[in-house]
Symmetry: C5
């Protein structure tokens, strides 16, 4: 899990807990029926909005997005450069033997298409379609949390309205108006916490992760098509490096020079990129 | 009806009902004139916003969207693969005899165009136009519920304002300010329930259903054009499978292997996709 | 005028009127100075936002949009099919004699371009430009009502703020705080009615009408270019029918079969579309 | 200055002034420190948001947009038609002598490019770039006023919060709570007036003016390229007229018939547009 | 640092400070626990929304954006014109010696590609990719501050809700309700200041800076491709000048005439742009 996520959760829970404990009566913030109507109502609206299997799927994917680890862009560039060099030396069919050592299913699948001799236009189409299906699945995931982030405060307000109606209807003794109003406000408090501390940040993080994954897949598509077209590996490496941030680029160059001498040599000695 | 929808409706109604019954006076939440002005006003604004036949049409389509069942993407891919194989063996005209067994009017209609020998460009144009007309009809449907979701809280607020004006104007006895204010707030409560429990979730669900249907139709267009172009059925199958989610893809592969041996054979034995 | 619009206006006015009459004092909702500052202020902001001639023009067009009647898409398809058949039999110049019987200026004008022998590319450009000018005029119209719908509640709030400041500044007797507050809230009430019952629904209806008109004009452009290209009238009919909703399509087919036997014959007898 | 702007400013000031004077104490609405924190804070946030020279530039351009006058689209069409006729009779180089009599720098500059024999593709590129730079400058201008319209109410709220905190902290005598609260609300009032009466309408007007100017420039580009291509002046006139509204078109035709007989003749006598 | 930024910060702090000091009790606005829950909660939500390295990176870039200085567009045009003239006189390889004197890494890198003889299409692709990676990095930066600007008021509201619940729950003595409420409102005040005085303006400024940088890079791409294509330097200068505002253009022409006589000569003497 990302260090920022852990820090965020701990510090958020800490600040809320500390404020609650500093109050006159910590129990004032805890009311099961209020929590039930806010969470229950919000989840009910989300259930009507989406399909069951989508919701279950998104919960799984979200857990994975927060915990899972992915291959770095730099490693993928190195892999693609190596494949490109091999393909130029030994032909496209030589890539078949490489497939088994590759973990990423997206690269594996595309290599199979190259080896099978499918036309570049068709490969670009298939990979593009796969990318846009992936993107729309990601958007559904973000959409579920964004919808929840919009509905929880609404249900918090519904809960508070119900509390106020109850309170005002039975208003006989001015003395207990305070605690009753406090109780009515608790649902708004729950709605705000659920939306602004949980759902909205998760939707944001899912978007960030999705953008990263799609960028990586776009980079892979560029690389695969370049390999198939038999482009110069050094030129391909240069092109793929434009997908890196300046810091990653620097890091990549430092790592590549000693490590993969073959790929980095031309650059180090100032040789021209073209042959 | 989707299990999530049923669960959502039941749990939402349950949580609201439970909160009402737990209150001092369940009747405090029930006021016919308040309901009339909130719902009536909101519906009046929706009526001015749209045309009568659109509104009636949307209500029908919505009912269908919640209840109706549609053919799965996997079955459609299997059907298209079978048609493609037949067309390659026996020629495009052989598809005419297949038409009668196909339920989906969109596929049926496109097959007729192929059999009639209409040019691919024209078929793509016609099917694309049909898709965009469908999409704009769907958007009108979502728009009606989104408009309603925005107008109900506004009319809830109008009702509360009218209640407050009435209450404040006749303010002589401080004792009955409570119940009168409770009554004024009831319209805001109705507006919130109508918007966040009914209209907004319906608009969301219609959007999800529309995206699914349009994706399916795009898949059909790809398939039909591939059949007409005489592309390799296995390659077409590969391309259409990019429209499936990873889970559906896995499920499709499992089902296809024993079931439709012909389509799955090449894959199972690791034969190349191209001929 | 559309039946939904009439129903909407009547029911909206009815619900508001009924709520007012049910109150303690119907006169509480009526205050000329409050109406003046809400409407006057909102209109003043709209006047600064747009040009005088645009505002006047939009008011005219809006009246027309609510009252005026337009040719149905089905009639236009029939007309275009008839023109297409004539052009194929007697040549493009024969269309000149038809022009006088056509009401729609957009079709008339385009036919003149065909008769004059202007190139297809130029006709598409001119008609496309005309369409986009129309669209931007429509958007200005919707924009004026949307702006008003956003500004009226703001001025309602300004009115209420002024009422509250006045009330609080002169607060000496707690007894008359109620009626004064009621008066202050009346401007918010006016702002909400003007926005959510009048301006927002009008802006929505203008958008719906604009989409319909633009779809119709796009259909005409497709038809005109098809006539000029000398395409098969039956194929053109098939293409134009994709602009219809399923219900209109069905209705069109029922009407066409007995009425315009020539156009419908091929379809009825199952003849192929191509020659 | 546009008549609508003057009317808007006068009526807006009038309605506010009248409401203030009708109140118990006109001085209740006037508080220098409140104005200072609302305006000062809003302007401070705008200053951090943009660059100094942009802000100064926008203020200048805004003044010009409200006061300045521009050439009508109809006059520009007449000018372009005249230039087109001259170019066809005497060649493109003959346009050099016309340049001096043209005020519009955009037309002047483009004519120079034609006379210099620059290629059409290059002219379209340069004029397109100029247009998009203009558009992004306009958007910055609108953006500054939109930002201000969003920040002034926020600072009005900050002022009111500060007033309330001050008031509640020192709450000892319930008697002076009214006037103190009135004072606290004054900043919200200022923020609303600054946003909804001044900044938002100016941003709207700038957008309207910008759209007009860009449409005019697009029309000029079409005309200039048509002149360079040596297209028929009557056809060009027809094409450029699609940029006019129906009313302007009618007005143009009425004016052109007697005035510029040469350009209008063909149309009046029903001659075909093509030669 | 931009003069407007300094002015904005000073005046904003000044107006807030002055209002606080003018109040009854300046200490009313200062409460460490309130600041902790508002800032801490907002930052916690931002931490969950983004990755740690992105957040750290954005803080660095932001500091640089406010302090750093960049080369003016005019200087870059002059540089590109000089390079273009050299390339036409001495060939593309002569650009290699120029590289060392160029500071801008984007120009340097592109020149290397030209010298290496990479194809124009490939150069355009690489530079375009680099630009879009840069743009998405900039958008992440703006996104972090926009997210913070949306979350701080939400956490201010959460803080106020907690304060109100605490206050109402323990409501026994009506005398101390005032100060307790003041304290509850302080978190809303902090949230508003953090959002509308700090985060929103920074997000705006980052957007303005990003647009400037991207425009400059687009101008460089146009110039580099023009140099490679061997276009006339004067025509290239004319094209690049369309990226300048009218004021910059005027300034550029004034500076260029005496300074770089060679580049300005043709223009001054009215020579045609083409050779």
């Amino acid at each position: 899990m990302d260090i920022a996520t852990i820090l965020g959760i701990l510090s958020g829970v800490g600040f809320i807990g500390w404020t609650i404990l500093n109050g006159n009566d910590p129990q004032a913030y805890w009311d099961i029926p209020s929590l039930a109507v806010t969470m229950g109502g919000g989840i009910a609206s989300v259930l009507i909005s989406y399909r069951m299997n989508e919701i279950i799927n998104v919960l799984k994917v979200t857990a994975q997005a927060f915990i899972g680890k992915k291959t770095s862009n730099e490693d993928i560039i190195r892999l693609l450069v190596r494949l490109s060099q091999k393909a130029r030396r030994e032909g496209l069919l030589a890539l078949e033997s490489e497939q088994e050592e590759i973990d990423d299913p997206f690269i594996k699948q595309s290599l199979q298409l190259i080896v099978d001799g499918v036309e570049p236009e068709m490969i670009r189409d298939c990979m593009g379609l796969e990318l846009s299906t992936l993107q729309s699945r990601h958007e559904t995931g973000q959409g579920i949390f964004k919808t929840a982030a919009a509905l929880f405060p609404a249900w918090g307000m519904i809960g508070t309205l119900m509390g106020l109606i109850n309170l005002l209807k039975g208003l006989t003794d001015a003395a207990n108006i305070g605690p009753a109003m406090a109780l009515a406000l608790v649902t708004t408090f729950y709605g705000a916490i659920l939306a602004y501390f949980i759902c909205q940040p998760i939707a944001n993080k899912l978007k960030v992760k999705s953008q990263e994954e799609i960028l990586q897949k776009e980079m892979i598509i560029e690389g695969i098509l370049s390999i198939q077209a038999g482009e110069n590996p050094r030129l391909m490496e240069y092109k793929l490096k434009t997908f890196l941030s300046p810091k990653q680029k620097e890091h990549y160059d430092t790592q590549s020079s000693p490590g993969s001498a073959e790929a980095g040599r031309g650059e180090a000695t100032g040789e021209p990129i073209t042959e």
